[in-house]
Point group: C2
Chain length 124, copies 2
DNA sequence: AATAAAAATAGTAATCATTACTGTTTTGGC
DNA sequence: GCCAAAACAGTAATGATTACTATTTTTATT
């Protein structure tokens, strides 16, 4: 059975407090402020468990790090190849899931990443 | 400038011959049949270059390996969490790109992965 | 077809995000 | 409070990918 831990609470709370799609290292750095003894392994384990249980989403944008996001409804991640920023845009109306179900597939979660240049970086 | 090499040709040719979304190791194993001395590093380097130039697409489905796909038009990757198979379904009409462009983002490529259970694994 | 510079390769070593392991601490039911 | 299960901190190990280097191949030029 799953037990409470202040470490997991702090990790989930942090991921929910930002819209920056933090990596495990990012979360570790932030949570360390409140829990100076927290271990990096604990952060990894809890992020994986939270993603497994569907409380958060893990996103791979191709930069070599796993990113985490508390937004659970389907949306698109715009990843800027220059500055690295990840911007969300809503796509809950896209109908992608029904396309999948039509082929007999049981969808659990969907992630879309579009790589390119954000507005700022594109103009430079 | 870019030079010809039989290694790169064999790699591209193999990725174009299958619909299995091979990993670098898969490609290495297959191309080794024709070119027994090919190096794993050569496979990695060429796959990265081919993806960079847009000749193939790299897809991360969350299984710890980078997969490669010769299909360049926008489509959805259905990844079965049980058997690991990756199935493509067309989604070129989805309008995802125009959603991105509307926000001022310059799209280069888009990858959608839906995780879940394929038809076969779902019925078991 | 010989020559030389640039590009690519094979083979190996290094990197580093993530996972596994172990002994200790915390949690939750009785 | 007591105990077993769960979680933790700290550290070691894993393994996909990348970097490095000496050698070979390619391409342009003569």
């Amino acid at each position: 059975m799953k037990n409470y831990s202040k470490q997991r609470e702090a990790i989930l709370s942090y991921v929910r407090s930002v819209r920056t799609h933090p990596t495990a290292k990012d979360v570790y750095g932030a949570v360390k402020e409140q829990l100076p003894n927290i271990s990096l392994g604990t952060v990894y384990r809890n992020l994986a468990e939270l993603a497994e249980s569907g409380e958060i989403i893990s996103v791979n944008v191709g930069d070599g790090f796993e990113h985490y996001d508390c937004e659970r409804s389907y949306h698109i991640h715009l990843h800027c190849n220059k500055c690295g920023e990840i911007i969300d845009i809503d796509a809950s109306e896209s109908g992608l899931f029904s396309l999948a179900e039509k082929s007999g597939f049981k969808s659990e979660n969907a992630v879309t990443v579009i790589n390119g240049l954000c507005k700022n970086c594109a103009k430079q």
